[in-house]
Amino acid sequence: MEKMTAEMLLEKYSDMVYRIAYARTQNTHDAQDITQEVFLKYIKSGKEFSDEEHRKAWLLRVAVNTGNTFVKTAWFRHRADLDEAADMTEAMPEKSEVYYAVKDLPEKYRVIVHLFYFEELPIKNICNILGISETAAKSRLHRAREMLKEKLKEADYEF
């Protein structure tokens, strides 16, 4: 398979990695830190992929794992308290109540919601990326939907 230059790779996948990192951390700076680490790991690994799907799944899995490590650090927990209000949402033009409802979910639910609804990945791929069983992934997604339905009950969204 043809090797991608850094420019091609970033053009194709930087937003994907950045968004999953942002969904996790809800903070621009932290999302950038995770994104940087993921792409530097990619270069250092010297990996070769059989197809584009494989490359995408690898990047998502490493983004999730890097995010896991990142949010466990004491530094992050301290920062998260201080910067809670200082995320980039203020720079975004307009957000729906859906955005805020997801933002209020605990982080592990935000990640699975993002993989399912934004990346439109099937459960069998999501459980591989998250490193959990298919049953656990289904249960987590179900729980996330229940919480979202409760938060958005007045608008009657179709899930």
Binding site: R19, K44, S45, M92, H114
Partner: protein, 192 residues
């Protein structure tokens, strides 16, 4: 209203900052892959050595079809030119036999310089392939104590990569019945 459409619309507005991406691209271009393919280097060096031999000796390369006898005294010329022509930097240094190579591997583990161990069902390694510390230490201990065997490998093969603090990388396979084979050795070893 559809939840997915709304969510996708909101999150489509979130994108990495252009300046950040430009900086990241520069960093990526200045970052080299950590893994060095020793086999490729060895092959390349061997190819250069063969060319140097042909040019330096001023003779044709022995042709097997002709019984390998192109000129008298060719064997002696080959040895003189290839010995010490390139100092190949490999993780096992000057070890030659498989037992010596394995002993270097065991020594690196025993001296505590194993930084990370990856074990995967395929040859692609990432952070998800790192066993937990206790499991890694247990396997490291077994690897350091492995002994040469004539047994056959049975069961599923796991591909592993040991990364040492010196930067050395050793790749090997482990089968279900405890057979270990380093990529750089022909002999097989067994862990208990």
């Amino acid at each position: 209203m559809n939840f997915k459409d709304e969510y996708k619309r909101d999150y489509s507005q979130i994108a990495a900052d252009e300046e950040f991406i430009n900086q990241l691209e520069k960093k990526m271009n200045n970052t080299a892959p950590a893994k060095i393919n020793i086999k490729m280097i060895t092959a390349a060096v061997s190819a250069v050595a063969v060319i140097a031999l042909a040019i330096g000796a001023g003779t044709a390369i022995p042709d097997e079809k002709d019984g390998g006898i192109a000129l008298k005294g060719e064997t002696a010329v080959s040895q003189t030119l290839t010995e010490g022509l390139f100092d190949i930097d490999v993780w096992y240094g000057h070890a030659e036999s498989d037992d010596e190579i394995y002993a270097v591997f065991a020594g690196l583990i025993s001296e505590g310089s194993l930084e990370t161990l990856y074990c995967s069902d395929d040859s692609m390694f990432d952070d998800t392939d790192i066993p937990d510390r206790a499991e890694m230490n247990e396997l490291a201990e077994k690897l350091a104590a492995a002994v040469r065997t004539n047994e056959k490998a049975i069961g599923a093969e796991k591909r592993c990569m040991a990364v040492f603090s010196s930067g050395e990388i050793v790749k090997f396979s482990i089968w279900d019945n405890g057979i270990v084979k380093l990529d750089d050795c022909a002999e097989i070893y067994k862990i208990n």
